[in-house]
């Protein structure tokens, strides 16, 4: 029983306890707080699983952004009147038993790995140098399975369009109603003036280092979005209206450039989303920079919600 395995067991017990609390708790606000804590604990679990890229993503998007969205929603849901009663006991019991069965089935599957564990790691590692990347995860994301990454960006754009399409017709083209939760008093503006420069440097570093070390476009984009939201909440800059051309261009820049390079690959490197020999690294970095910007703007607007105020002419 090495120190680390005790730590792991403690971590797992803590994760399950906080998760169960955030599910079982009756009061929505504390459940969300529980969820944020759960998100951070989970990123530690990812570090223990030696997947640092995923730990970063989980901490940034899973814990941070989702937590912030939930907090905003809980604040506004306090005014909802007369929500329905808890589900009856027999249903809860049945659900409990069945969920336990499903979890047990999953546990059986997890507990019975094949004798020799097949892996793509060696194949991924030996083909990595051709793309000039150091970080294998970035290699998978931008070289081997580039189609998934490209499509996932289109999914993000679609989700944003879905959120925007919820606005009433007269508000279209207006300003997302990012509720300013606290008046822009001195303390928040101080934070909003001090933290963003640091945040932006961290984001750029994360995006840049993503090629060699754990990091990358997603994590950088999320930090960028967080800083932009902080500045908007503090009221230092106005929330942009959704019909501005530059905003749309910025949103689409990442996937569009990725698509353009992919199509160019068909001509120059005999396959869609293939990189011409030798130019892989610069192209990928260019795509990562564009993606970081797009993701930053997209996540920020997703958190800001549908347009709710018409722009004062």
């Amino acid at each position: 029983m090495t120190i680390l395995s005790i730590f792991d067991i403690g971590l797992v017990v803590l994760i399950l306890a906080v998760g169960a609390a955030s599910i079982g708790m009756r009061e929505a606000f504390s459940a969300v707080i529980g969820f944020v804590v759960y998100g951070l604990l989970l990123s530690i679990a990812w570090v223990r699983l030696s997947a640092v890229d995923v730990a970063l993503t989980e901490a940034a998007i899973g814990g941070g952004m989702t937590g912030m969205l939930m907090l905003g929603a809980v604040a506004r849901l306090r005014f909802a009147k007369g929500n329905d009663s808890r589900t009856s006991l027999p249903v809860r019991l049945a659900a409990g038993i069945l969920c336990a069965l499903v979890a047990a089935g999953l546990a059986i599957a997890v507990l019975s790995p094949p004798e020799v564990i097949p892996t793509l790691a060696p194949m991924a590692m030996e083909n990595l140098p051709q793309s000039g990347l150091g970080n294998p995860v970035a290699g998978v994301l931008f070289v081997y399975r580039a189609l998934d990454t490209l499509l996932e960006k289109v999914v993000l754009i679609l989700a944003l369009l879905g959120v925007w399409s919820l606005a009433p017709d007269r508000m279209w083209g207006g300003i997302p109603g990012l509720r300013v939760y606290a008046q822009p008093n001195s303390k928040l503006t101080f934070l909003a003036q001090l933290l963003p420069p640091v945040g932006i440097v961290v984001a750029v570093y994360m995006c840049w280092v993503g090629a060699k070390e754990p990091g990358g476009a997603f994590q950088g984009g999320t930090v960028l979005a967080a800083m932009w939201l902080l500045v908007m909440i503090a009221g230092l800059t106005s929330v942009p209206s959704i019909s501005q051309r530059w905003l749309r261009l910025l949103l689409v820049a990442g996937p569009m450039i990725f698509l353009a390079i992919g199509i160019a690959g068909m001509v120059l490197a005999n396959a869609f989303l293939a990189y011409p020999a030798g130019y892989a690294k610069p192209l990928i970095v260019a795509v990562e920079v564009a993606l970081t910007l797009s993701i930053g703007v997209a996540l920020g607007l997703l958190a800001a919600g549908p347009p709710e105020r018409v722009q004062r002419p």
């Binding site: 606290a182 008093n185 303390k187 928040l188 934070l191 001090l194 933290l195």
Partner: protein
């Protein structure tokens, strides 16, 4: 020399852990929100400081050490601001039931 540094690290980190424990006890025992806030920020910041101090010799190279210190500074900054904001809200609307 290596041994001395290791002992120093163990001592500093355990002191930090002790302060975290004290902060948590304060959180549970103190009567109202403001005192809890006070306990938390003060003690946890100190605890974190000690832990960072303890880890400095273990950090690989100057760059790693600088990163640890920046982490500590950032936590202090955000901790202070957030405490101020919560305290402001608590004072304005009264503790939320």
């Amino acid at each position: 020399m290596r041994l001395v540094l290791d002992i120093f690290t163990v001592l500093a980190v355990s002191a930090g852990a002790f302060f975290f424990l004290a902060g948590t006890v304060g959180l549970i025992r103190f009567p109202d929100a403001l005192t809890r806030l006070h306990a938390l920020t003060k003690v946890d910041n100190l605890g974190l400081g000690l832990v960072v101090l303890g880890l400095l010799p273990q950090a690989n190279g100057l760059f790693g050490a600088l990163k640890l210190v920046t982490i500590w500074l950032l936590v202090q900054l955000s901790g202070a601001i957030v405490t101020q904001l919560i305290a402001g809200t608590v004072r304005q609307h009264g503790p939320r039931e």
